[in-house]
């Protein structure tokens, strides 16, 4: 039952991504990625920790490359057309970057840092910093065009 559900979700996600790329309906991209991600999340409890640590960055890289690929494909009807060589280079670089980023998160998650007030303060300060950065960027200078 679980296997069928996982297969169905993954297939549905893949179909939605293909449809988004072919029909240029970028609104379908989050649903396609969500389907694939959910399928992976359902599979995750059944695989051991070592396999999960290896597969997660690869799956993350695959999902990111799929998303970028769909957005590039959706822009193919535009003028100027995306250059294939440039798009391929970007997809390769972004895939490798995504794998590295995902692996880094997993490595950081496994580091034993203990529990203390200092960690809580650092975490809160980081969250506030991110919100402040986002706020300052969104209210930045707005030149008139």
């Amino acid at each position: 039952m679980s296997g069928l559900l996982v297969t169905t979700l993954a297939a549905l996600g893949a179909v939605l991504l293909v449809l988004a790329a072919v029909m240029r309906w970028t609104r379908l991209v989050p649903w396609g990625l969500a389907g694939l991600g959910t399928a992976y999340a359902l599979v995750l409890p059944s695989i051991n920790v070592t396999s999960a640590a290896v597969t997660a960055p690869l799956v993350a890289g695959g999902l990111f490359v799929a998303a970028e690929g769909v957005f590039i494909a959706a822009a193919r009807g535009a003028v100027p057309k995306p250059e294939p060589a440039r798009a391929l280079a970007w997809l390769t670089a972004s895939g490798l970057g995504a794998i590295a980023c995902s692996a880094l998160v997993l490595v950081l998650a496994t580091v034993a840092i203990g529990r203390s007030l200092l960690i809580t303060i650092v975490g809160t300060a980081a969250a506030v910093g991110v919100v402040a950065l986002l706020s300052s960027r969104s209210q930045g200078d707005r030149p008139e065009g």
Binding site: C101, S138, R142
Partner: protein
């Protein structure tokens, strides 16, 4: 400048939030790791993304064009920052249409790059029109935010109606005292020979016809026809119009009026215009190409202004309706006030000819039998009005816009030749 998050940003933020929350809730860092690349991309895009800085200006070469002509628009783009994608959409104004199938233009620009684009619009209808609106959207290289610049309104063009060259015009019955190209029936100084008559005291010696004098043994002088011009008033009925998606009676009327005015001005006649409708407008008769442009400028401003007010020709200033003028009325013969005004003009002794812009092609009878009957009755009533005009010696010729304007003009001339002189009322 308006900023809107792109679909990409919304997608990546949603995936980041979902992966992080589910990962935290289930205690699986692998799910957070799945979302990490999307979060990193968004963070990188926000930190490194530049607001696109671009200057877009659009110009048109001239402000006077003819119906059906192309209006080339020059769009100058100057990028001050890298722009991954710049979308320009030129929305044509009323009376203009895009010549290409893709009115959108897109470009990728490097910092400092200048580019010039030349989209072309085509004029469809006469009138003073705004050329259009140029809207501009840009995306930075991460394509996370769409930047929409305030739309730029392009200038205006004055689209003149396309004029037909008329070979023969309706000849005026009366001519004015000023010199022109028409041979008057009167006797006087001119080129065209009229007759010889015996010399009378006061005749100038240079008018003596020496050959006839020698043959008859008594002095004779030559009489000649002087060259005179005419005053022509183009009377445009703007009380009502009938239209469908293909056009309207007013559109045809203005085309006919401009062709008629140009035709008479080319013959060195004085031409004026009276717009008779909800608003009474006019232009005094005058000569030349400057007058033609003034007439065209006046005509393209013509519009139907609805009013219940009773109006008659007494509202038209006297200078715009000079005595002995030939009045060419261009009317759909719909509104009783304009029909009454034309009868009034004829009763006041004006030489009148009517070019009827038929509203019949723009109308269709309704689906039921009574509608068809009403449509036929309406057409019979129109025929009765035409007959009434013709009984008073006024030619009424119909023009649908399909055949050349020369056809109704020639038909009116033939009618006037047939009756020799209009019947006095």
């Amino acid at each position: 400048m308006k900023r809107t998050p792109s679909t990409k940003l919304q997608t990546y933020l949603a995936l980041t939030a979902a992966g992080t929350l589910v990962g935290l809730a289930t205690g699986r860092p692998e799910l957070v790791a799945l979302a990490a690349p999307f979060a990193a991309y968004v963070a990188l895009g926000i930190a490194r993304g530049q607001v696109p800085e671009v200057t877009v200006s659009a110009t048109i070469p001239g402000e006077r064009v003819l119906e059906g002509d192309d209006v080339p628009v020059t769009v100058e783009i100057e990028a001050r920052s890298a722009i991954e994608r710049l979308d320009l959409a030129l929305e044509p104004g009323y009376g203009l249409t895009s010549t290409g199938s893709r009115p959108r233009i897109a470009a990728r620009l490097e910092p400092g790059e200048r580019r010039q684009l030349r989209p072309t619009l085509r004029t469809q209808r006469w009138g003073p029109h705004r050329v259009g609106v140029l809207s501009c959207r840009a995306a930075d290289r991460f394509a996370l935010v769409d930047y929409e610049f305030p739309p730029a309104r392009l200038g205006a063009v004055r689209v003149f109606p396309r004029m037909e060259t008329l070979g023969a015009m309706i000849e005026p019955l009366e001519l004015q005292a000023t010199t022109g190209n028409r041979v008057s029936r009167e006797r006087g100084d001119g080129i065209e020979f009229a007759e010889v008559r015996p010399f009378t005291p006061g005749d100038r010696v240079r008018r003596v016809n020496w050959r006839v004098t020698a043959r008859r043994g008594a002095p004779y002088v030559s009489e000649r026809h002087p060259e005179r011009n005419a005053d022509v008033i183009v009377f445009l009925d703007t009380f009502a119009e009938v239209s469908d998606p293909t056009g309207s009676t007013l559109e045809l009327a203005v085309r006919a009026a401009s062709s008629v005015a140009a035709g008479y001005l080319a013959r060195r006649d004085r031409v004026g215009v009276v717009g008779f409708g909800g608003a009474v407008t006019g232009l005094r008769p005058s000569f030349g190409s400057a007058q033609l442009y003034q007439i065209l400028d006046a005509l393209i401003g013509s519009e139907v202004t609805f009013t219940y007010t009773h109006k008659d020709v007494s509202l038209v200033p006297r200078q715009m309706l000079p005595p002995k003028a030939l009045v060419i009325a261009i009317t759909p013969l719909i509104d009783d006030r304009s029909i009454g005004a034309l009868f009034d003009l004829r009763a006041r002794g004006f030489d009148l000819a009517v070019i009827e812009i038929s509203p019949v092609p723009f109308t269709k009878p309704g689906p039921i039998r009574a509608d068809a009957l009403a449509h036929r009755l309406w057409q019979l009533r129109r025929a009765a009005v035409r007959t009434q005009f013709e009984e008073f010696g006024v030619p009424v010729t119909e023009w649908h816009g399909e055949q050349p304007l020369q056809v109704p003009v020639a038909s009116a001339s033939a009618f006037r030749r047939r009756i020799r002189r209009p019947v006095a009322m």
